[in-house]
């Protein structure tokens, strides 16, 4: 799946793919959002979950005051998406679940 397929969904602020050590592999973000910071944060959270819970492929949805973050560890790397709180989270999750 291409990143553009995901970023087409309304209220998605950006999506990207990061390596396990937090470097950006690919990203598509709207202006004002830092892809590198988001990639680093996604890698940090995934590594913490893996260490704490002993999960092979970690996946998390994190709700903050303003936005919602989807993080998923795939074969290619750590996939991450940022969207607004009032976005269709179910649709975004379905799209992300298709990524393996």
């Amino acid at each position: 799946m291409k990143l553009s397929d995901l970023t087409k969904i309304p209220k998605i602020l950006g999506a990207g793919l990061a390596s396990n050590d937090g470097f950006v592999i690919d990203s598509q973000f709207t202006v004002g959002y830092d892809a590198e910071k988001s990639a680093a944060m996604a890698a940090q959270v995934v590594n913490r979950i893996k260490r704490s819970l002993g999960v092979e492929k970690a996946s998390a949805i994190i709700y903050t005051q303003n936005n919602v973050f989807f993080i998923k560890e795939t074969e290619d790397g750590i996939f991450f998406t940022i969207c607004q709180k009032n976005a269709n989270l179910g649709l975004i999750k379905v799209k992300i679940d298709k990524i393996k």
Binding site: D34, K37, S38, A40, M41, Q44, V45, R48, I49, S52, L53, V55, E56, K57, A58, S59, A60, I61, I62, Y63, T64, Q65, N66, N67, F69, G90
Partner: protein, 232 residues
């Protein structure tokens, strides 16, 4: 004629007499005043020694006053010493208060009701869902507060892990300036862990992977409101 001549002579003599000097006039006046004072002194009678003596005698008679005081004293009744002593004795006597202390019945110590008991109802409603494995509440430090997860012994370890993930995510999002973490879902192969912040505590719901996360959040909201009321 003789009279006329006399008058003329008198007038002549008067003309010849020099006018009185002012200093002499003053002296004359002083002499006259002195004379008048002497006359007044002579007229004033001398003080009678007998009257003076009488006044002194009147002042010197304290004996009579003393007598009157004694008479008044005799009329006033003296305090009765016996009555005073009685009163003192009555005051000195300790008042014996006879109050019976009620015996306190021994009560069997009952475990104090936990304020979290009010959480039971909404939690049980959540647990009725077959896909929900268990629920537990822990502090943000990772300490267990309440456990509704039966058949699992490593709850305290999971609490610590959940708290660690929460704090790490919180720090990361602070770095991103995205605000604090409200809730997060961790998807594992065999189960899904939903963590919701409620004040200073974390509500964790462990479900099967096929559960509906929306339903979990709806039920959890009621539990969170209760937790906020109880734990703040």
């Amino acid at each position: 004629m003789k009279e006329v001549e006399v008058e003329k002579k008198v007038e002549e003599v008067k003309e010849k007499v020099p006018e009185p000097v002012p200093a002499a006039e003053e002296k004359v006046k002083e002499v006259e005043v002195e004379k008048k004072v002497e006359e007044v002194k002579e007229k004033v009678p001398e003080p009678v020694p007998a009257a003076e003596e009488k006044v002194i005698e009147e002042v010197k008679k304290p004996v009579e006053v003393e007598k009157e005081v004694e008479e008044v004293k005799e009329k006033v009744p003296e305090p009765v010493p016996a009555a005073e002593e009685k009163v003192i004795e009555e005051v000195k006597k300790p008042v014996k208060v006879e109050k019976k202390i009620e015996e306190v019945k021994e009560k069997v110590a009952e475990p104090t009701t936990i304020p979290l008991a009010s959480l039971d109802k909404p939690v049980k409603r959540l647990l009725r869902n077959k896909t929900v494995k268990g629920v537990f509440i822990c502090s943000k430090d990772g300490l267990l507060i309440q456990n509704y997860f039966e058949g699992r012994t490593d709850i305290e370890e999971i609490c610590a892990m959940i708290a660690a993930i929460y704090t790490e995510a919180e720090e990361s999002f602070k770095f991103l300036k995205e605000g604090s973490v409200e809730k997060f879902i961790i998807e594992k192969e065999d189960e899904t862990i939903s963590v919701i912040t409620a004040g200073e505590s974390l509500l964790t719901v462990v479900t099967q992977p096929e559960t509906k996360p929306g339903l979990v959040f709806v039920y959890s909201r009621k539990i969170i409101n209760e937790i906020r009321e109880i734990l703040g």
